[in-house]
Assembly symmetry: C2
Homo-oligomer: 324 residues x 2
């Protein structure tokens, strides 16, 4: 059985050995650049891990793992253009390092490349893998569109928010796990359980990210605290607060969020003070704990020897304890 560390090394090594044509240079250089070390490789590692649950060998799952990682990086490339994010993992994003056109086109090529990698999987399971991959990929696009929609909307419900992050964040992790399980020869009910595991773990991960953005320790979180509040981002915290609050408090929150004159620190502190009054931190922590419990339950239902499940527990821990 492979450890988390071993699987990460395998992925890193595989990525290092991917070959690209030399020309056109401006199509392929950004692809190599965006796949360089720095990513956490969570999705491809999860895919191999899921395969390894059911099969000692993981060779057959490697192309699919690479496909998922290439696809993930394609989405980052295009998302960074759309979100005007100039940095990615501490380096200039592709559209900053080169330009928007090159980022659009290299991204397109990466998506094709992802499909090409996937197509080198065993022909017998290929149609099934493609079905999962297609559903996953379109789900990620839907999630990104909902996320952009939310920016221009005044209010978003908690359920709408959860649906959005399910698509934008969870579906790819869940799809990776499901694909890995299929590669490992799992039965349908097992692949479905792993998919659900990926969904709840992904949701918990995103909720935790939301929580840290407001209540985290900047030095550990790696970003300034309060960014979501300043950007008026519809997070689990904000949507939950708007759901819980009475009419005057709702208006107070919305007025603060829309206030462009107010000092940044005052804005963050004021919104956080309302969150405190509404016990939003506790609500969020409870939701994360609930997803975590669900994840543990799903692992239990997989009905595999306890030692085989260890890496999945490790995955959940890694995702959820990564920063305080």
């Amino acid at each position: 059985m492979y450890s988390f560390r071993e699987l990460t090394d395998i992925i890193e090594n595989e990525i290092k050995h991917l070959k690209y044509p030399k020309d056109p240079r401006l199509l392929y250089e950004p692809i190599a650049y965006s796949l360089e070390e720095g990513g956490k490789r969570i999705r491809p590692v999860s895919l191999l891990m899921a395969c390894n649950l059911f099969s000692e060998g993981i060779e057959q799952a490697k192309p699919a793992a690479l496909a998922v990682e290439v696809f993930h990086n394609f989405t980052l490339l295009h998302d960074d253009i759309m979100d005007h994010s100039d940095l990615r993992r501490g380096k200039p994003a592709v559209h900053t390092r080169w330009n928007d056109n090159i980022a659009i086109l290299s991204g397109d090529a990466m998506m094709i490349y992802a499909y090409r990698l996937l197509c080198s999987c065993e022909q017998q399971i290929l149609p099934q893998l493609l079905d999962i991959f297609n559903e996953t990929a379109i789900g990620v696009c839907e999630g990104q569109q909902f996320d952009m929609d939310f920016e221009t909307r005044d209010e978003v419900t908690v359920d709408e928010y959860l649906n959005m992050i399910r698509l934008k964040t969870s579906v790819l992790l869940a799809g990776a796990l499901k694909i890995g399980a299929v590669c490992g020869g799992a039965q349908d009910w097992q692949t479905e359980l792993l998919y659900k595991f990926g969904i709840v773990i992904g949701l918990a991960f995103q909720l935790q990210d939301d929580l840290f953005d407001t209540y985290g320790d900047a030095s550990v979180f790696g970003k300034p605290i309060g960014g979501d509040i300043l950007a008026g981002k519809k997070t689990f915290l904000l949507t939950s607060a708007l759901k819980t609050a009475d009419e005057p408090t709702r208006n107070e929150i919305l007025a603060l969020i829309h206030n462009k004159q107010i000092d940044a620190k005052v804005k963050i502190d004021s919104v956080r003070a309302i969150y405190d009054r509404l016990a939003i931190r506790q609500t969020t922590e409870a939701a994360i704990a609930e997803y975590f419990r669900e994840a543990e339950l799903i692992l239990h239902h997989l009905d595999l020897p306890e030692e085989r499940i260890v890496p999945l527990h490790e995955l959940a821990e890694k995702l959820l304890k990564r920063k305080k």
Copy 2:
């Protein structure tokens, strides 16, 4: 056997009945919009035609034909952003009607949608179809990148230009024909011949487009004449002129192309006068005729009853005689 007209109607009808999810609206509306009537449907019709060469029924090729048309429209969507083209078939391009972000993301979703359509083809031939599709798709991206590269380069050779248009224009038509042939049950040597037929027809088509842009009749061509000259576009005419010209004439051409002060009409007339001196029109017409001859020869080598070949002759005629 289906006529060109019948196949076009079939495609138009299939596209009309494609179903999209309702939400997120801003992801799916642009897809439906970009697939609306207006396109010539050359590629999907060619695909069905190629299938029909070897099989009376064409039902099995329909999803692949749609996949190719959806992919083609995805490339237009992203190309229009990159090229800042605000109009497409007389209507606002998606990025004009909505915005760049929506055009990027809807385009991404269209590519996935294209793969999804392709994946509904018969499982037995699916790996082969995917191989052709993947190669085609990456080729189109390479062609677009070379085309963008050429904009910033001073000189491009005729061979480099031909390679670029082979990728940007021919490969998708050739891939469509090859996919159609595979769906129809053709043998490998036949699918290869059809691929080559698509390549030369595509090249001839693009060269003719280049020719009309400088020597055409504006009322028939549908665009103002001389646009390529004003934009300094590396066309077959320009690259051939730079190849044929002596040193002083080359410098004269380059000086004209780079001159931003000169009156548009004077610029067009002056460059055309040099082309006339170098007999570039004749060179281009000869190249088109040569590709056309090659195409006819390939059809002959297919070794099919003459009446079965009629639609392909019709296709070549349609592409090459569409405007004078």
